[in-house]
Subunit: 135 residues, 2 copies
């Protein structure tokens, strides 16, 4: 895709288009979800066809890696790649903003404290805790 | 609006909906634009009706304050409020991600170095440099 401008903010927003792709990355990064059923069960009630499409795009973009689920050979397991995990700072700032400014939003345990200190170190620590497809 | 879930990431993504609202905040925060014409002239070529709609929503949400342009009494001036400026960390992480991962994206001078250090201090410094409507 060719973005409408060379602005890195616009490019990032265009790449992820609507919010669904970022919510799937959120499910992998914060809820540690790995299966289609798991993503489908998230509170936002993503439509099955949109979920399939966004997972395919995320896989094609190298953000997500798909393989067999070791616990269920017929099922597929989706895991973040390093590239996918590189969105964690963006997602974390969105989470912090939402916690702080949105009425009735959940708070992600420990997030505010984590973000008070060295954010880059906190993001790296968070990424290292993940079961990445390309550790 | 009632978001589809109480997740702070989803709430933030739903609140800003498509990318246009965040691009207008970007214009105010990073390009220091203050006028309708200025936003309209941005590289993404936002449609006039979308720009009017998003500016009205941002004003209604308390992210942007509108008043008379001191340099042109007939024109309107749009400035970020503290609430609007509170999106700078989200926008900055998107910019850093785009600079790092998108081919042909511009680099925002000094951003990478700024983000290497104490990000919270850097964001606060950036916000203090702005001509906010509610300083």
């Amino acid at each position: 895709m060719t973005p409408r401008s060379s602005c890195p903010i616009n490019g990032t927003l265009e790449l992820f288009g609507d919010r669904w792709s970022l919510l799937i990355l959120r499910d992998m990064a914060f809820a540690r979800k790995t299966t289609f059923k798991g993503f489908e069960a998230s509170a936002e009630k993503i439509a099955t066809n949109i979920l399939s499409d966004r997972l395919a795009r995320l896989e094609a973009g190298g953000f997500v890696h798909k393989d067999r689920d070791p616990e269920d050979g017929r099922a597929r397991r989706y895991r973040l790649t390093r590239k996918g995990a590189s969105l964690i700072p963006v997602l974390s700032e969105m989470a912090l903003w939402g916690e702080t400014h949105l009425r009735d939003a959940d708070t992600i345990p420990g997030l505010k404290d984590t973000m008070k200190g060295d954010r880059q170190a906190a993001f790296s620590a968070l990424i290292e805790q993940l079961d990445l497809a390309d550790p």
